[in-house]
C-alpha cells in the first residue's frame, strides 16, 4: 500500500531523512517512532505529497507520489499532529468541504458524519464554528473528515495527542477495524505502550536514519519496546 524507497530529504546542510526505505502492506498498522526532530514528520509529509524530497521514491497503491500525486492522494488521508482547520467554517461544513474534494456521495457522507460524529461524541458540536472548538475537538473533527471519504491508507502524525481516553480507545478500535477491512495505517507516536499494543510492525528512526524495523517481535524480542528504543537512541 505504501512503499518508501531510499527517501532522502535535506534542509540546507541538515539531512532530515537519510536513505529511508519502508514497506507498509494492506492490513498493517505500522508505527513510526523516534525522538523529537528524528525525521518522522518530514517522512510523513513526503508520503502525503505535501513536501518535496531530494532523492528516492514513494509509491501509494503502486502510484508514484511525485508523478501521480492526485491519484495517490485520492486513496489516502493525512491527519497532522496539530490540526489547524478553517476556523471560519462550522465543523459540519468542513467535513462537507473535504467530502466534496474527495467526491463522496451524499448518502456516504451523511452516513459517515452520523457514524463518526456519534463515535467521537461530536455530533452536537458539528454545527458550531471551528473557532469555538478545543484542541481535542479539532483533532476529532480532522479524524471524522479523514474517515468519511473511506481512504485505503491513513497516515497520521501523533494521532493520540489531545484526545481524551475514550476517543483514544475508539480511535484504536477504528484503526484495527480499518486494517481488518484491508486498509493500512502508518502513524508516528511517542507513546511506546500504544505502539507496542497496537502495531503489527514498527520502525525506529534516529537522526533521519532507520535504525530498526520489522514486526513487533522482530524489533523488541523478549524485552519491551521502551527498552529497545532507549537502547537504540543511546
Amino acid at each position: 500500500m505504501l512503499r518508501i524507497e531510499h527517501l532522502t530529504k535535506t534542509f540546507g546542510a541538515k539531512v532530515a531523512v537519510n536513505d529511508l526505505s519502508l514497506h507498509i502492506q494492506s492490513g498493517e498498522i505500522y508505527g513510526f517512532i523516534g525522538h523529537n526532530g528524528a525525521g518522522k514528520t518530514t517522512t510523513i509529509k513526503a508520503c502525503c505529497g505535501i513536501m518535496e524530497f531530494d532523492a528516492g521514491e514513494i509509491y501509494v497503491g503502486g502510484h508514484s507520489i511525485r508523478t501521480e500525486a492526485n491519484v495517490c492522494k485520492q486513496i489516502m488521508a493525512y491527519i497532522p499532529d496539530n490540526p489547524d482547520l478553517y476556523e471560519f467554517l462550522s465543523g459540519e461544513r468542513y467535513v462537507n468541504f473535504i467530502s466534496d474534494l474527495y467526491g463522496v456521495s451524499l448518502e456516504e457522507r451523511k452516513a459517515g458524519i452520523a457514524k463518526y460524529g456519534a463515535m467521537f461524541g461530536l455530533t452536537e458540536e458539528l454545527p458550531k464554528p471551528i473557532a469555538t472548538y478545543s484542541h481535542g475537538m479539532k483533532q476529532k473533527l480532522a479524524l471524522i473528515a479523514a474517515l468519511v471519504h473511506k481512504p485505503r491508507l491513513i497516515i497520521m502524525d501523533e494521532p493520540f495527542v489531545g484526545l481524551d481516553p475514550k476517543a483514544s480507545f475508539l480511535l484504536k478500535e477504528e484503526m484495527r477495524e480499518h486494517c481488518r477491512q484491508g486498509g493500512a495505517i502508518f502513524f508516528s507516536t511517542h507513546v511506546l505502550e500504544v505502539a507496542e499494543k497496537l502495531c503489527d510492525k514498527v520502525a525506529i528512526i534516529k537522526n533521519g536514519c532507520l535504525v530498526s524495523s520489522g514486526t513487533m517481535d522482530e524489533v523488541k524480542g523478549d524485552t519491551s519496546l521502551e527498552d529497545v528504543f532507549l537502547e537504540l537512541e543511546g
Partner: protein, 544 residues
C-alpha cells in the same frame, strides 16, 4: 525559599511592566520584517518616508489655513481644527487595534495565569497602543507646528501649551477607543457575529473620510475666509476643542485646564474601569459563549465550486480582509456617486473642450479601472492559508484548480460593483450602443486579469508568518506586487486615450475596444502563467 524549598520570588510591578513592553516591542519589530536586520531597517525607512510624505502634504494644507487665519487675526481655531483632525486620526487608527491588542490578545490568558496584576497587563497594552496614537498625532502636530511658527509664530507659553496638548490629546482618543472596544467585546459576547456592525462602521468611516477629502477644498476656502464661523459648530458640539485653541493662543489658563481635565479625567476613569473589569472582559471570550447553532445539513458540491465557496466564505467572514482588500470597490462606488451628483457640472466642463466627445464615459471607465487596480482580494488568498495549507495540499486537487479557485472569488466579488459602476456611467452622456456594452465588458475583463495577477503575486511573495489576518492582507509584499501588476495595463489604457481620441480622432468606442483587446491579452498571459508548470512548481515548493 519556603519550607519545601520552592523559591518565593516576587516580581515588582515595574519590572513586570518593563518585561511586557519589551515583548511587545520585539513582536512589533518582528512584524516589520522577520529576523533580517536589513529588511527591518528597510521597513522602518519606508515608514519614515511615508510619514514624511504625509506630513509634507498635510503641511501644504496647514499653510493655506495659516495664511487665512493670519489674515483674519483670529488664530485659536487653527489649534481647534488640529485637535479635531488629531482625535479623528488617532481614533480611526486605533479603535479596532485596541480591541484586538487589549481584549483579544492571544497571550492574555497566559499572562493572567501568572502572578501579575491585571492593571500591569492593561498598562503594558495601553502604553504600546499609545505609541501608535502619538505617531498619528505627530504626523499632524509636526507640520502644523512648523507652519504655525513660520506664518504666525509661537511665543514660549504658547509653544509649551502646544506641546502639552500634543501629549494629552491622544489620551482623549484612547479613552474613547477603550470604551468602544469594551462595548464591542460586550456585544460579541451576546450575539453570534459582530461582522455586520463592524463592516457598516468601517464602511461608514471610509465614506466619512472620502467625504471629508472631497469637501476639503470647499472647507479650506471657508476656513480661510472666516475661521471662527467655520470652527464654531465643531466647538459648540465639543467644547474641549475650543478650550484647547483658546488656551494655547490666548494663554487662557482656565480654558487650558478645562481642556486638560477633559483629556485626562475620561482617560483615567475609563482606564480604572477597564482595569477593574479586565479579567471579566478578557475571559468572556468566544470559547465561553454558548449559542445555539442549527445544522445546515449535507450537500454535494463539485470540488472546484466547493473551493470557490470556501474562498468566498473566508473573504466574507473577515471585516479586516473585506475592508483592506476591497477598498478599491468602496472607493469606486463613492467616486461614481459623487460624480453622478455633479454630472451637469462635469458635462459643462468637458463640453467646453474641443474634440472631447465621449471623454466623460471614458474618464468614468478609467475611474473604475483605477479603483479595480487597488482591489487585491486574490493577492492574500495563499498567505491566508498559512497553517491550514496542509488541507488543500493533502487533498487530490491539482495546482491549476487550486490557484484558479483562489482567483475566481475576486472576480465574483467585483461583478456587482462593476455592474453598478458601469450602470451609473450609462448616464454620463450620449454614446453608441457598442460603447455602452464595452463599459461593462472592459472592467469585467480587467477584473479577471487583476484576479489572476493577484494570485500570481501571492504565489511569488507569500507571507505565512502572520499573527492576524490583516497582516497577511495589508502588510505582505503580495498586495503591493498585485497593485503593480494591475497598474501596468492601466497605464497603457490611459496612454491610449489621448492617442485615439485626440491624435487619431477616433470615437470613444474604438478606445474602449482597444482597451478590451489589451486587457484580453493581459488576461490570457496571466492565465497561461498561473496555470503553467512554473506556478505548479512554485506551489509545490512553498513552505508554510
Amino acid at each position: 525559599m519556603d519550607v519545601n524549598g520552592f523559591p518565593e520570588t516576587k516580581v515588582s510591578a515595574g519590572k513586570a511592566l518593563r518585561a511586557l513592553i519589551r515583548i511587545k516591542l520585539l513582536e512589533f519589530i518582528s512584524s516589520l520584517g522577520g529576523k533580517k536586520k536589513s529588511s527591518i531597517g528597510g521597513m522602518i525607512g519606508l515608514m519614515i518616508f511615508l510619514a514624511l510624505v504625509i506630513a509634507f502634504s498635510l503641511g501644504s494644507v496647514f499653510v493655506v489655513i495659516a495664511i487665512g487665519i493670519d489674515n483674519s487675526g483670529i488664530t485659536w481655531p487653527y489649534f481647534s481644527l488640529l485637535g479635531v483632525l488629531t482625535l479623528l486620526l488617532c481614533f480611526i487608527g486605533s479603535v479596532f487595534l485596541t480591541e484586538t491588542q487589549m481584549f483579544q490578545a492571544k497571550d492574555n490568558e497566559l499572562l493572567l495565569s501568572m502572578p501579575l496584576s491585571p492593571h500591569v497587563i492593561l498598562l503594558s497594552r495601553l502604553l504600546s497602543l499609545l505609541v501608535f496614537d502619538y505617531g498619528y498625532a505627530l504626523i499632524l502636530a509636526l507640520p502644523a507646528g512648523i507652519v504655525y511658527q513660520i506664518f504666525i509664530g509661537f511665543d514660549l507659553p504658547a509653544l509649551l501649551l502646544f506641546l502639552l496638548s500634543f501629549l494629552t490629546l491622544p489620551l482623549m482618543s484612547m479613552a474613547l477607543s477603550m470604551l468602544i472596544a469594551w462595548l464591542f467585546s460586550a456585544i460579541s459576547a451576546r450575539i453570534k457575529s459582530t461582522r455586520l456592525i463592524r463592516l457598516i462602521l468601517s464602511i461608514g468611516a471610509c465614506v466619512a473620510y472620502f467625504f471629508f477629502l472631497m469637501r476639503e477644498q470647499e472647507g479650506l476656502n471657508q476656513m480661510a475666509e472666516d475661521p471662527e464661523a467655520f470652527i464654531k459648530p465643531l466647538v459648540e458640539a465639543f467644547p474641549p476643542l475650543g478650550w484647547m485653541g483658546r488656551g494655547i493662543v490666548e494663554h487662557d489658563a482656565l480654558s487650558f485646564l478645562l481642556y486638560l481635565a477633559a483629556c485626562i479625567l475620561p482617560f483615567a476613569l475609563v482606564s480604572y474601569a477597564v482595569g477593574r473589569n479586565f479579567i471579566h472582559i478578557v475571559l468572556r471570550g468566544e470559547g465561553h459563549r454558548d449559542f445555539h447553532y442549527k445544522s445546515q445539513g449535507s450537500r454535494v458540491t463539485p470540488a472546484f465550486r466547493s473551493m470557490v465557496q470556501l474562498e468566498l466564505t473566508r473573504f466574507l467572514s473577515s471585516v479586516g480582509y473585506m475592508i483592506n482588500a476591497g477598498m478599491g470597490l468602496i472607493m469606486m462606488i463613492i467616486a461614481l456617486v459623487f460624480a453622478l451628483l455633479r454630472v451637469d457640472q462635469l458635462q459643462e466642463m468637458v463640453g467646453s473642450l474641443q474634440n472631447m466627445d465621449g471623454f466623460l464615459p471614458a474618464a468614468g471607465c478609467l475611474t473604475i479601472l483605477g479603483c479595480l487596480c487597488l482591489t487585491t482580494i486574490s493577492a492574500a488568498t495563499i498567505s491566508l492559508e498559512a497553517k491550514t495549507f496542509w488541507i488543500m495540499r493533502a487533498a487530490p486537487v491539482s495546482s491549476r484548480e487550486l490557484l484558479l479557485a483562489k482567483a475566481l472569488p475576486h472576480f465574483l466579488v467585483c461583478i456587482p460593483f462593476i455592474v453598478a459602476g458601469a450602470t451609473m456611467l450609462q448616464f454620463a452622456g450620449t454614446m453608441s450602443a457598442a460603447c455602452r456594452i464595452l463599459l461593462y465588458v472592459v472592467p469585467l475583463t480587467a477584473s479577471a486579469y487583476n484576479a489572476l495577477a493577484g494570485v500570481q503575486a501571492n504565489l511569488n511573495h507569500p507571507k505565512f508568518d502572520w499573527k492576524n489576518e490583516t497582516q497577511a492582507v495589508k502588510q505582505g509584499f503580495a498586495p503591493l506586487a498585485a497593485m503593480i501588476y494591475n497598474i501596468i495595463p492601466f497605464v497603457l489604457t490611459i496612454l491610449l486615450l489621448p492617442v485615439l481620441l485626440l491624435i487619431l480622432e477616433q470615437p470613444v468606442s474604438i478606445w474602449a475596444l482597444a482597451v478590451e483587446l489589451l486587457y484580453l491579452l493581459f488576461t490570457w498571459l496571466a492565465y497561461a502563467r498561473l496555470t503553467g508548470k512554473t506556478s505548479d512548481r512554485k506551489l509545490v515548493a512553498l513552505k508554510w
